[in-house]
């Protein structure tokens, strides 16, 4: 018998144009919780998908209990006792909890009819150790955290020996997170080995036994949690010292600068209540909070993209009347959505048409779009942002994620905005483009532009922001600045444990 529940040797996975995994090794001891960390795009998901049989590796071997196995699809993975709790909830929203828990069993059974009584009874038994959830309820009626628990129950119902948890706490509150950790402890006692993917250093150091690090598709070693610290892990993750990762912050006190934007008492019926903040010239204001805290909703409401019940916006002391995003754009306030594919680019349209969309009037004469003007505008900004393309008339769908993001930012800058609001500006783009965007954001502030940045990646938020507004369940927990901007403080506040100021 081997000491390892799972062993991965020399996995190589190529995607068109990139090598996602380059000879990656990974070992998972029996009954341990192994943290897997790496930046976005480092290959964590690809590696997990290889283990789960979603992707087939181009090279390399996988051993389970010391025996080499060939995992060709998720069903094989199930047979070998691998359970996977995905980051995004992958449940059928419109059917009962019980049917979701036993989905794969129902899928493979030979019986023609479903014995619901038995199904509900067994589902109740499976869910009992995890939490109090009625197996007859529809999944869509459950909270996100309970849905996550259903996901875990579903994975466990297959008698898995190895459980992969992909950022399970991203959408959870602190108490729900604690509950999940208790469950993990229980599972660990039963001898189940877990791979735990997370960006949160604090969780890794409190819950995991070892941590394995991936960077740009390469394996960068494993460390025992007892023998390392978060600084070392992060340094290995990004491959350089963190201190020179981000451009220098605002020199001096940004609150003394002229006020650009003031938001007062913004409330809607449920997503955010009484949010107030100011934004100054040359400042980057970070906006932090767990998913669902109302970060995106509040800035969308400021831009007229989300309904609000009450609240006022002032621009340089003058009250603005924003009913529609168009009004915000006309006042020089622009917003970059977090969802690039759905709410950002027009994939089937050319780069130049994507850039000119915000202010068509600027490139039109008498209601007719002037192609030369449109091209000129696109040329100016795509050059400024260093968009890599062969012509401006090629469709945006042919660009990489990072370049699509640059096209979107070109579009925002093309109207010469005064306030730039960016929701997850570097999500899902490679490290190079990421640091380019960071530099660009800081350069914008040198021109007197105010930037509001939402980011779920704490290192990014901490590295970039001059001040940070932290939100918890729709309420403001205060604004912190200077040395107060650190991981511990922000997580504390975002979990609703601490409030700062009045």
């Amino acid at each position: 018998m081997s000491d390892y529940a799972l062993e991965v040797r020399g996995i190589v996975k190529d995607f068109p144009g990139t090598r996602a995994l380059d000879r990656v090794d990974l070992t998972l001891k029996k009954g341990e919780i192994l943290a897997l960390v790496g930046e976005n795009g480092a290959g964590k998901s690809t590696l997990m998908n290889v283990i789960d049989g979603v992707h087939l590796p181009d090279e390399g071997q996988i051993f389970i209990d010391g025996n080499e196995v060939n995992i060709r699809n998720p069903l094989d993975a199930q047979k070998y006792g691998i359970g996977f709790v995905h980051q995004e909830i992958a449940l059928c929203q419109h059917v009962s909890v019980a049917e979701n828990v036993f989905m794969s069993e129902l899928n493979s059974t030979d019986r023609k009819f479903i014995n619901y009584r038995d199904l509900y009874r067994r589902a109740k038994k499976a869910l009992a150790p995890l939490g109090d959830i009625d197996p007859r309820k529809k999944v869509s009626e459950l909270s996100i955290s309970n849905q996550q628990i259903v996901e875990i129950a579903k994975a466990l119902s297959l008698n898995c020996k190895i459980l992969i948890l992909d950022e399970p706490t991203a959408a959870l509150t602190e108490s729900e997170t604690d509950a999940l950790f208790n469950i993990m402890e229980e599972l660990k006692k039963k001898g189940i080995s877990m791979i735990y993917i997370s960006h949160r250093m604090a969780e890794i150091f409190s819950q995991c036994d070892r941590v394995s690090i991936l960077r740009d598709g390469e394996y960068c070693g494993s460390l025992n949690v007892d023998e390392t610290n978060s600084r070392e892990v992060v340094t290995r993750m990004v491959g350089r010292e963190i201190s020179n990762l981000y451009p220098a912050k605002f020199d001096g006190n940004c609150i003394e600068q002229d006020e650009l934007l003031r938001v007062e008492d913004f409330s809607d019926s449920k997503r955010f209540t009484d949010i107030s903040f100011t934004l100054h010239e040359g400042e980057i204001l970070g906006l932090s909070g767990l998913i669902g805290a109302g970060r995106s909703e509040i800035v969308k409401a400021v831009c007229g993209l989300f309904p609000k019940k009450k609240g006022d916006v002032y621009f340089r002391g003058e009250k603005l009347d924003i009913h529609h995003y168009e009004d915000a754009i006309n006042n020089g306030i622009v917003y970059l959505s977090e969802d690039r594919k759905v709410e950002g680019v027009f994939l089937d349209m050319s780069i130049q048409r994507n850039i000119s969309v915000l202010d068509l009037k600027a490139v039109s004469v008498n209601g007719i779009v002037n192609i030369n003007k449109e091209k000129g505008l696109a040329e100016e900004y795509s050059k400024k942002l260093n968009v890599k393309c062969s012509t401006l008339s090629q469709n945006v769908s042919s660009l990489s994620g990072g370049n699509q993001q640059k096209v979107l930012i070109s579009k925002l800058l093309s109207i010469k905005p005064k306030v730039v609001i960016m929701d997850e500006p570097t999500r899902g783009i490679d490290v190079g483009a990421k640091s380019e965007i960071h530099k660009l954001l800081r350069n914008l502030t040198h021109e007197g532009i105010g930037v509001i940045m939402i980011s779920s990646e704490l290192p990014e938020l901490i590295g970039m922001s001059d001040r940070v507004l932290v939100m918890h369940e729709g309420e403001s927990c205060g604004i912190i600045s200077g040395d107060d901007i650190n991981e511990k403080k922000i997580i504390h506040m975002a979990s609703g444990l601490e409030k700062v100021g009045a």
Partner: protein, 330 residues
């Protein structure tokens, strides 16, 4: 950055390939091929009388196709075009028989069609219904209204003044006036759809509705506007038919929505929105008309016509879809 088009001894072949890659180019080639083939098969095909008949048959429908094209670019669909067209014809005719000046009667009919478009737009944007269901319901409502207004029998309008009949029956030189109206509408709308700021917003909304919202485009307004445009153009076609036939027939225009959608799709419009040109759609309509006319000249039973048109549509859509998949893969 921008590659120069290669010139030289391959210039002609490159030009040909470029022409072929261009959707309208392919269609023109097919139309020319059909015409050459037909001119051998039938001595009547290449006569002025035949071409005039072909042009007349698709020019009025072509106005409906223009509206449908814009609707498809938006990512919507309008199943009510045929019924709304007929409704304009019936309202105009009925009002005229009640003693209203025919020009005024036509204007009222057009206004009612525009109103129907506005209501459709509101139902789509404010209530959140999809175009398909909304316009399917209006197809029934408008068609029903035609029968109610006319009590099921065609209205004879032979007393229409000569000046009004000129719209549908007059000629300027050798050209029927209808064809001139049609050409003006097609040329103007093709130019506007390609270049105007307002109609560019239709492309954005159709290509990615959410992204359009997040670019400050008031998508609701765009949708209402397109519904109004589509219904108004259908109404205009109805008025032209009323003038041309001197009658209001409550069962007229059944199935026109299918012809219009087929023409636009053959011409390169995508049912998922964001793609389409007026010129392409009109070529699609022309191809369908030429094939219909050819089948008649070849003495093919009329029963075969819909079957053959259906096959052509399937072929066009399949080719389009396969090209799309390839582009996405590449």
């Amino acid at each position: 950055m921008i590659e120069n088009i290669k010139t030289g001894k391959n210039g002609f072949i490159d030009l040909f390939n470029k022409f072929r890659n261009f959707r309208e180019g392919t269609l023109i080639l097919i139309i020319v091929a059909v015409c050459v083939l037909m001119s051998f098969l039938s001595p009547y095909f290449m006569t002025w009388a035949n071409w005039k008949a072909i042009f007349l048959s698709f020019s009025t429908e072509g106005i409906v196709v223009v509206g449908m094209t814009v609707m498809l670019v938006l990512g919507g669909i309008d199943l009510s075009v045929g019924a709304v067209m007929c409704l304009a014809m019936c309202i105009g005719g009925k009002l005229f028989l009640l003693g209203v000046n025919p020009w005024l009667a036509s204007l009222i009919a057009l206004a009612i069609c525009a109103g129907i478009g506005y209501i459709q737009g509101l139902l789509v944007t404010k209530v959140g219904l999809v175009h398909f269901i909304t316009t399917l319901a209006f197809m029934g409502i408008a068609r029903g209204a035609c029968f109610v207004i006319t009590q099921g029998t065609p209205l004879s309008l032979f007393t229409l003044p000569q000046s009004f009949k000129f719209i549908g029956q007059g000629t300027i030189g050798p050209l029927p006036f209808v064809i001139i109206i049609f050409l003006v509408i097609v040329i103007v709308s093709d130019y506007m759809l390609r270049n105007s700021t307002v109609l560019r917003k239709v492309f954005y909304s159709g290509s990615n509705e959410k992204a359009a919202v997040f670019s400050g485009i008031r998508v609701s307004r765009v949708k209402i506007g397109v519904s109004v445009l589509c219904c108004t153009l259908s109404g205009l076609a109805g008025i032209i038919y009323m003038s041309r036939f001197g009658a209001s027939t409550p069962g007229f225009g059944v199935g026109l929505e299918m012809t219009a959608i087929s023409a636009a799709v053959i011409g390169g419009a995508s049912l998922t929105g964001g793609e389409g040109t007026v010129f392409g759609s009109i070529l699609g309509a022309a191809l369908l008309s030429i094939i219909t006319s050819s089948l008649i000249l070849l003495d093919v039973s009329v029963y075969w016509q819909d079957l053959i048109k259906g096959c052509i549509l399937l072929f066009a859509v399949s080719v389009d879809h396969i090209q799309h998949m390839r582009r996405q893969a590449g």
